[in-house]
Subunit: 120 residues, 2 copies
DNA sequence: GTAGGTGGTTTCCTACAGGAAAGTACTTCC
DNA sequence: GGAAGTACTTTCCTGTAGGAAACCACCTAC
């Protein structure tokens, strides 16, 4: 009947784990980081711009992912009153708070590449 | 025939995007961050410990994810010569370099929760 | 011998992610 | 009138992620 002490059910841990799950579920899927990264670099872009920028994505995926991101207030969608109607997607102030996370991720990925190619 | 300038095909961008894809593919799936987070907190843990710590995971998933992480040198697997044979999983030095990334992610998730509950 | 603990693997199943291609609607250019 | 561009949506299909449950092997305590 002796049960090992559970190390991980302290409140601080539960909150951290929950927070990571939240973040991951908002950014789940193959394309969200690409879209956000592109919008952070490019500022304002149209649907077709994104379709061309992001290598390999299809219109269905792009449409769905943009809706997801807009729903979570990470990007904004603005219909422009131009001759052939255009839509501009841009990162929101809130979405921009992801920049350090994206930078960390890019930095780690670059270092990983180097260590695999160099040390292995 | 006029084509809009592509903003995203500068070498630095391509490398960043590739790096993000690399990182995401190593950490893909529902459980990798949970496992890494738990091992960073708990130091050395056995299979059954992890099964109990990580709420909801099944033995198949845990086994598979541990193999993935070990293959990428993010965790170590040590068979202990104890009475009933036990295995210890621990984070490697290399896996520990993910700590800032995991911290960023947890931090962002916590802030997201607060902003949704508070401001909305 | 049998119940219970360790550390898994294997089988089977389902749901969702994601891709290709076509369709919709509206506009402008020629 | 028709091609071409913008911005999507819809349909159809496939592959894989991931869960439940059973099974294997080995050891110890009773």
């Amino acid at each position: 009947m002796k049960k090992k002490a559970i190390v991980n059910n302290t409140p601080v841990c539960q909150v951290r784990m929950q927070a990571i799950s939240d973040t991951m579920s908002l950014l789940s899927g193959k394309w969200k980081f690409h879209i956000l990264g592109t919008l952070i670099e490019g500022c304002k872009l149209g649907f077709m711009d994104l379709l061309r920028e992001i290598d390999g994505i299809g219109s269905k995926m792009l449409s769905k992912e943009l809706q997801d991101l807009e729903m979570n207030h990470l990007i904004s969608r603005t219909v422009m009153d131009t001759k052939p109607i255009t839509v501009q997607y841009a990162i929101t102030e809130y979405g921009a708070t992801l920049t350090p996370l994206i930078n960390e991720m890019a930095k780690w990925g670059i270092e990983y590449r180097q260590s695999v190619h160099g040390a292995k």
